[in-house]
């Protein structure tokens, strides 16, 4: 277990509001192995992006890490100095942002933006070496070198995402946080980008946290899956375990509403699907309780403890043991 690249332990992140601190991430723990990939799945607003930003210490000014630690290659990301953190950013942990986002600065050429990342962390490198590295990165993500001199708006959505991937690989990081990298891309492009991310991640032995709202996409690229709901991690395990025998009712609902391609269409009218369309859960209890078909009085009293379903698969539900 000690070989993990990143070990997040009981991480809580809160936003200051008028009424006090509002926990967006509540006691989340997980590990990412070197070369392993963890998919964090959850619906919008469940806190998955906040985790990514929290690990990079790039939270909005009204948010802060309340408790917990994140051991990355022996350093606790929650406590290292800001100066050290700047060195870690991109050099050791880089990010791939959502494709629809303006992640590239519109007024600078992409070449300069990539070079900037390299030069910040390897100031001794000659201009020539930097240019050479940029070229080889573009080769890697299959964009013609001639386009290095272009501005971001001259690229299509998929190409821009490749540029961002190239930039993320620029300093040879050991961990990549990919936040909804294919949202808003078309299926074919999405597939290509996912393929590219998966390949680099495996070939370069990079650890990855892959954040997405789309279980199908996460299932495609990740070895481990963590399911999040309302700031809490509710299920965590190997991909097959989570998808094939989901232990948490919320995960079951997510897996159940995953439309698949099969010879017979799903029985839309017949499938029972708990609603998660309503307001927040009552404070203190299990976050899923108001929408959970299995909820009992016990669920109102405090959050459930982790129940291990196998050596690698754990669920946070008071009724986890009761289900087959």
């Amino acid at each position: 277990m000690t070989t993990a690249l990143l070990e997040v332990d009981n991480l809580s992140i809160g936003y200051r509001t008028a009424t006090g601190i509002n926990l967006a991430v509540d006691g989340v723990s997980f590990q990412v192995e070197r070369g392993g990939s963890l998919g964090l799945v959850g619906e919008s607003g469940c806190g998955k992006t906040t985790i990514g930003m929290g690990l990079m210490r790039l939270l909005a000014s009204n948010a802060r890490i309340v408790s917990g630690q994140a051991l990355f290659e022996g350093e606790d990301l929650t406590t290292v100095s800001e100066k050290r953190m700047r060195q870690i950013r991109w050099r050791r942990i880089s990010m791939i942002f959502q494709a629809a986002m303006n992640a590239l600065n519109p007024v600078h050429r992409v070449e300069d933006q990539i070079a900037e990342a390299i030069m910040t962390h390897e100031p001794d490198l000659s201009n020539h070496a930097v240019a050479h590295r940029s070229k080889s990165l573009f080769d890697l993500v299959k964009i013609p070198e001639s386009r290095l001199r272009d501005y971001p708006h001259q690229f299509s959505g998929g190409m821009r995402q490749r540029v961002i991937i190239a930039m993320a690989l620029a300093c040879n990081p050991s961990l990549i946080i990919a936040d909804e990298p294919t949202t808003a891309l078309d299926v074919i492009v999405q597939n290509q980008i996912l393929g590219a991310i998966g390949t680099f991640q495996k070939e370069m032995n990079i650890g990855m946290i892959f954040i997405s709202h789309d279980l199908a996409v996460v299932a495609d690229v990740c070895t481990h899956i963590g399911v999040m709901h309302a700031g809490s991690l509710v299920e965590y395990g190997l991909r097959q375990e989570v998808l094939d025998c989901p232990g948490h009712p919320y995960t079951r609902m997510l897996v159940g509403s995953l439309l698949t391609l099969s010879d017979e269409p799903a029985d839309l009218a017949g499938l029972v699907c708990p609603t998660v369309d309503n307001g927040p859960a009552m404070s203190g209890g299990c976050p899923v309780q108001t929408n959970c078909p299995n909820a009992t009085a016990a669920c109102l009293r405090g959050q459930a403890d982790w129940v291990a379903l196998s050596r690698t698969h754990r669920v946070r539900c008071k009724h986890a043991g009761e289900q087959s």
Partner: protein, 327 residues
């Protein structure tokens, strides 16, 4: 279950729409974008027809043409056998009672300044249907149809007080209040979370079963089309490339583009390569002449054929049609 054989309620014949940009008073120097290129398709009464395509493929343009938000540059659109292009006045009002749309973005499909009651009631007001009391009853019924229960709770609320899924249901109630015969759902769930999308699909399915409303379901998701639709058409850069029953077209596709879409569809558990492999790694340059639009990306393309002319729709069997030189 899907054996409804009936005459088409809506038929499009060679419909073409070109967008021009950059008009100015001093000389027009704009570019042309062909959004739809000679699209022909029939939608039968009572079916859910899926139009599948990537963004920018023209699928939304098709829906806008049908409801008259735009006019086609060429071709005919007939509803119930009657031409509906450029309808005016009374005839247009009559038509608008029968065809309604559900838009993609529930956050923008409701006027923030109108209460739910006013929003859902508006079509009744426009068409001068009923008096105040009966309108209220009908609004409540419509909300119930959209599974917003109890409806009274919602009447006086405003859109910002509702979640995305609830707003989309209000939009559905609004569309259903005139009891239309034809409903267009334009990517109704692309902004919603997975579990809520699922519920909306189920609601649409139920509307068809209960009211027999014909539906044009526009989506980029093969899975959604597979599970909800009776027949689907696949559209690529404004041209229809394949058309058939949902099962045949999606599970046993013929056109290289449909195959590429299927290849790209995420499938958990297994590898995502099913081995059609119709997509080229490096695109070919786009030919000058009229050509099959998929030619630059198609591994199976035949030189001197696909790059020189556009393929025509061919019947593979009674229900399945494809536009490709390989067939």
């Amino acid at each position: 279950m899907n054996t409804r054989v009936s005459s088409p309620i809506l038929s499009m014949t060679d419909v073409t729409k070109v967008y021009r940009s950059g008009d100015s008073l001093l000389g027009a120097s704009g570019s042309r974008v062909v959004a739809l290129d000679r699209i022909s398709l029939d939608i039968n009464a009572g079916e859910i027809f899926g139009l599948v395509g990537e963004s920018g493929s023209g699928k939304t343009t098709a829906s806008r043409l049908i409801v008259g938000l735009e006019t086609p540059d060429d071709g005919r659109i007939r509803f119930d056998g009657k031409d509906i292009v450029g309808l005016k006045g009374r005839a247009r009002r009559e038509f608008t009672r029968q065809v309604q749309v559900i838009f993609q973005d529930p956050y923008q499909s409701l006027n923030a300044h109108l209460s739910i009651f006013d929003a859902v009631c508006e079509p009744l007001v426009i068409h001068g249907i009923g008096d105040r009391a009966s309108r209220r009853t009908r609004v409540c019924e419509a909300l119930e149809t959209a599974e917003l229960t109890p409806p009274e709770v919602y009447l006086n609320r405003y859109p910002h007080q509702l979640s995305g899924g609830q707003r989309q249901r209000v939009a559905i109630a609004r569309a259903m209040i005139l009891e239309p015969r034809f409903l267009i759902a334009d990517e109704p769930t692309s902004m919603l979370d997975a579990s809520i999308s699922f519920q909306i699909f189920r609601l649409l399915h139920r509307l068809r079963e209960t009211f027999g409303v014909t539906m044009l379901f526009i989506t980029h998701s093969l899975a959604a089309a597979r599970n909800l639709c009776d027949r689907v058409g696949v559209i690529y850069r404004g041209r229809l490339v394949e058309l058939g029953t949902a099962r045949e077209t999606i599970m046993h596709p013929r056109h290289p583009y449909t195959k590429a879409l299927l290849d790209a569809h995420p499938r958990y558990g297994g590898s995502n390569h099913h081995g059609f492999g119709t997509l080229l790694d490096v695109e070919r340059p786009r030919p000058e002449t009229d050509h099959c639009l998929f030619y630059p990306r198609c591994r199976l393309a035949v030189e001197n054929t696909c790059n020189l002319q556009a393929p025509k729709m061919k019947n593979l069997d009674a229900a399945h049609r494809v536009s490709c030189f390989l067939f």
